[in-house]
């Protein structure tokens, strides 16, 4: 051993080599937080579900008067929101956040389809839905059916809505579940996003569903 060692030419670490080693070390160290972040599971803002059955299919009238079914969008992530046009406080916030989420996803955003189902079909005709939807994102689709149809779909998605007569000049207002339901590309209900989730948080959740 010792003989072999003494036979080796004496080698000192030259400055360029030392510098290179330091640079490599620095890069590795800098990469650690990134690696840790990558290895960490995605923190969902919405509630993740493991549904054994596919989400209930439905067919409703779109704002441009076409029959549209949920199953038309297999291969895309579908975000369903139950709301109504006369609602000025909550519904615009959620729809604006969905628009932001879609924009934040860039190219991937094209694989996200937002559907808004009106819980006030008596007032929200396709024409009114068309004007409302256009304000947010022309790719969104506004859907309406009759009250019974809407109630049937709402029940299947665990969504509550009820007309409330009020003293407002609007007449009635509609109480409704304000969550967003996310259906994965295979047609399974995967995520329920509560009201108050930001567009950025929605984008992160949708990205995960798109990629997994």
């Amino acid at each position: 051993m010792s003989a072999a060692e003494t036979n080796l030419p004496k080698k000192t670490l030259g400055w360029p080599k030392l510098l290179a080693a330091l640079v490599i070390l620095a890069i590795l160290l800098a990469g650690i937080p990134l690696l840790v972040k990558r290895l960490q599971p995605h923190q969902f803002s919405g509630m993740l579900l493991q549904s054994p059955d596919k989400a209930a299919d439905f067919t409703l009238m779109s704002h441009d008067q076409q029959e549209v079914s949920l199953s038309d969008f297999r291969g895309k992530v579908v975000a369903i929101y139950f709301g109504y046009v006369s609602c000025p406080d909550i519904c615009p916030v959620t729809l604006a956040n969905l628009r932001l989420a879609r924009n934040l996803l860039g190219e991937q955003g094209n694989d996200v389809q937002v559907l808004m189902i009106t819980v006030d079909p008596e007032r929200d005709t396709p024409e009114i839905m068309a004007e409302f939807i256009a304000h947010f994102d022309p790719t969104f689709i506004g859907l309406s059916g009759d009250l019974n149809q809407t109630a049937e779909i709402a029940i299947q998605y665990g969504v509550y809505f009820e007309k409330q007569e009020t003293s407002s000049v609007l007449g009635y207002l509609v109480d409704h579940t304000a969550t967003v339901m996310v259906i994965d590309p295979d047609g399974y209900l995967r995520l329920v996003i509560p009201f108050g989730t930001t567009g950025k948080e929605m984008a992160a959740d949708l990205k995960y569903i798109l990629e997994h």
Partner: protein, 148 residues
């Protein structure tokens, strides 16, 4: 002489009383409205919502009892509440403004609802809204339309 003294005494009493009356008049509510903004409207003839902070710096409670605007058919005070993910909105008769407190009108809580607006609220424009109170004088606001 005695009668004069009584007159002077009466005068003093009246002066003191009028002084306290004056000061109690200044002890009313003292309202300041800040950060008023409105959401852009989706519809040409739809509804709008306006939010703000109302601070009552006075020593007496007050109440917001109504509002009006030249750009809407009707203006109402509404309250949104969330319970178990269900949004409920109701028309309320007023918002209490306790002395020394600031009440926030915000999304998911109180808001001024403009019904049947006669112009589309575009980002960057302003609308005029007048608030009415139980005790204080009306306050007219220039409300900026913007995204949240």
């Amino acid at each position: 002489m005695k009668r004069e003294k009584i007159y002077v005494l009466l005068l003093v009493i009246i002066m003191v009383l009028s002084l306290t009356a004056c000061s109690s008049g200044a002890e009313g509510p003292d309202l300041k409205v800040t950060k008023a903004w409105g959401r852009p409207s989706a519809m040409m003839k739809g509804n709008g919502a306006v939010y703000m902070l109302i601070e009552n710096k006075g020593s007496q409670d007050d109440q917001l009892v109504g509002a009006s605007s030249n750009v809407a058919d009707a203006v109402e005070v509404h309250e949104t509440s969330m319970a178990d993910g269900v949004m409920k909105m109701k028309h309320i008769m007023g918002i209490d403004l306790p002395a020394g407190e600031t009440v926030e009108l915000k999304s998911g809580g109180y808001h001024i609802m403009l019904i049947g607006i006669n112009e589309k609220f575009e980002v960057g424009s302003t609308i005029t809204v007048t608030l009415s109170f139980e005790k204080s004088d009306d306050i007219t606001l220039e409300v900026e339309i913007r995204e949240e």
